[in-house]
């Protein structure tokens, strides 16, 4: 009996891995094969690079030649926020794309493909582009914009752990949005952008949560992405970012500075576990609802 259960588990795992692998390949082809690699690379980094330049110019216009840690805060947050947008908008877009554009979602459902693994696999291409863009932005920041990041002070261990936990959280949140896209008739293509836009405001990507009005500040401190961005900034810069106030160095965000690295690890680990389990059950539930209501092959023409 135990042997049968183990064999069944191995089969399930193998099926999931196979679906994941093929969906990743498919996602990558859809993302990339519309142009030759150079054009594709240019188009992939054009938007995030321009977004980074916008905030760099905004900073330079106000700060002039004066530089403090706030520039690093801004630049690093923006570089990692690319991944947030790619994961959230990418996964919800997958449903819309497959259902409305290529009209193949119903065929995926009639195949033996594992749907959860399929969706994650389809998002791999976008997340891969997101990671590449983040790395390119960091390189541009260090080489041309003098972002003060020292390879010797980077906390590689924390960085690796935080990064993996962050990706799990983002993929899980993306899966929730994909589930929502499955059961709404209209605007499915906007959900990822709206959520990423909301997170841009409340995750303290561009400014410390301390300056937000009280309601938004509490909301900011309830969002895992806030802690993830802080964790990425801290591990890359080798500590809490500071600014000068009344001649003394104080943390840029006193609210976030009270969390130690271990606190951040705990918060992100709990968030990752809750988000991944929650998203799995949520997606399974909405998927069932979509089947019951005949929404899998619906084309709204939007």
């Amino acid at each position: 009996m135990t042997e049968t259960a183990a064999s069944s588990l191995a089969l399930t795992l193998r099926e999931n891995l196979r679906t994941f692998r093929i969906a990743s390949w498919l996602g990558w082809q859809i993302e990339s094969n519309w142009a030759d690699p150079i054009v594709f690379l240019i188009f992939s980094i054009l938007r995030p690079m321009a977004a980074a330049l916008i905030i760099v110019v905004m900073y330079q216009v106000i700060a002039g030649g004066v530089r403090d840690d706030f520039f690093e805060y801004l630049f690093l947050s923006n570089a990692f926020f690319v991944l947030v947008t790619q994961a959230l908008a990418g996964m919800s877009w997958t449903i819309f794309d497959d259902r409305e554009n290529y009209k193949m979602l119903k065929y995926v459902y009639t195949s033996p493909a594992r749907k959860f693994a399929y969706l994650i696999g389809r998002a791999v291409g976008k997340i891969g582009i997101g990671i590449l863009t983040t790395l390119l932005l960091l390189a541009v920041g260090i080489l041309f914009l003098h972002v003060r990041m020292d390879v010797r002070t980077i906390e590689w261990g924390w960085l690796s752990v935080y990064f993996v936990l962050g990706v799990i959280i983002l993929v899980s949140l993306g899966m929730v949005l994909a589930g929502v896209s499955l059961v709404i008739a209209r605007h499915g293509e906007f959900i990822g952008e709206v959520t990423a836009g909301s997170l841009l405001l409340v995750s303290s990507a561009y400014f410390p949560p301390d300056i937000l009005p009280i309601g938004l500040k509490q909301l900011s401190l309830a969002v895992p992405v806030t802690y993830w961005l802080e964790a990425m900034r801290r591990s890359l810069m080798g500590g809490v970012l500071t600014t000068t106030f009344n001649g003394a160095r104080v943390p840029l965000s006193p609210y976030l500075a009270i969390f130690s690295n271990v606190d951040l690890l705990l918060i992100l680990t709990i968030s990752a576990v809750v988000c991944s389990i929650g998203s799995y059950y949520f997606f399974s539930w909405v998927e069932q609802r979509a089947k019951e209501k005949g929404m899998i092959d619906r084309v709204t023409g939007y």
Partner: protein, 280 residues
């Protein structure tokens, strides 16, 4: 051979334009959730930029610059997505074949799209400007409103002329159209100085980028409007009157370009059998 009089041609053109504008105008009232989604995204993004300026202790006029920039961005996005890519979408949905079969001018359809799209974008822009002005206490100087209205109108004419020209170019493309439309977001926001004074940007960019910035109508339109609505708070690239002249030139250029580009691209699309080609 059946020959129509000029009067008949004009009436036919206007009826076709009206027919294409109709679903865009009335569709909004039938599905108001469009407005919610169209307004929410720019509101959230703009609010983030406002808080960024506040975190940097920028002068309050910069909040006004950002709000005005967000207002005009509604028209830019409408121009890219509801004009530029529209014929591409229509092709994918199978509507383009019907347009070509119908005895109407494609230019009339483009004008209809532009009028309907302008109406949609205006609803969005009004909502953005109202909400953000009230939320952040932005004060616009409207003492020179006839001039401001004239600048806005000429900017819109040039912008939608550009949109019409883009739609014919997008007609030829497959999935690249989507990528190109996306690439016209942040890079255009950057080059038009949507979130900061244009003069600060152009003074530090190579000439090629200045040229690209100058041919996007939003750049000089926004710069001129900022100079008039926030007097003494911003140094313009040119004087408002000079910028109006550039915008007039752009308006004529883009509308004429749209007429020729549409003819050329439609012909090419027929020759290469792309009018009904989907999913390529």
């Amino acid at each position: 051979m059946y020959n129509r009089s000029v009067h008949q041609r004009v009436v036919h053109f206007l009826r076709a334009a009206n027919g294409r504008a109709y679903p865009r105008i009335w569709g909004l009232s039938r599905e108001p959730s469009w407005v919610f989604f169209d307004v929410l995204v720019p509101l959230l993004n703009t609010t983030a930029f406002v808080f960024l300026y506040r975190a940097m202790h920028a002068p309050e006029s910069y909040v006004g610059f950002v709000v005005l920039g967000a207002t005009l961005s509604a028209y830019w996005l409408n121009c890219v997505w509801m004009m530029g890519t529209q014929l591409h979408w229509d092709k994918r949905e199978g509507l383009l074949e019907l347009y070509v079969l119908a005895p109407v001018s494609m230019m009339a359809l483009l004008w209809g799209m532009a009028i309907g799209g302008f109406y949609q974008a205006t609803l969005r822009a009004v909502a953005i400007v109202l909400v953000l002005s009230i939320a952040f206490g932005v004060h616009f100087d409207l003492m020179q409103w006839p001039m401001e209205l004239a600048i806005f109108s000429i900017t819109m004419l040039a912008l939608y002329g550009l949109g019409m020209a883009l739609s014919s170019v997008f007609l030829m493309w497959g999935r690249e159209a989507w990528q190109l439309a996306l690439a016209l977001h942040e890079p255009a926001f950057f080059l038009t100085g949507l979130n900061f004074p244009l003069s600060k940007l152009l003074s530090s960019l190579p000439g090629f980028f200045t040229f690209i910035s100058a041919i996007i109508p939003i750049s000089f339109g926004l710069d001129a409007l900022r100079q008039l609505m926030f007097p003494g708070e911003i140094a313009g690239v040119l004087s408002p009157m000079q910028e109006v002249l550039v915008l007039c030139g752009l308006a004529v250029f883009f509308v004429v370009l749209a007429i020729f580009a549409l003819r050329r691209m439609e012909w090419l699309a027929r020759v290469q059998a792309r009018l009904s080609l989907r999913w390529q």
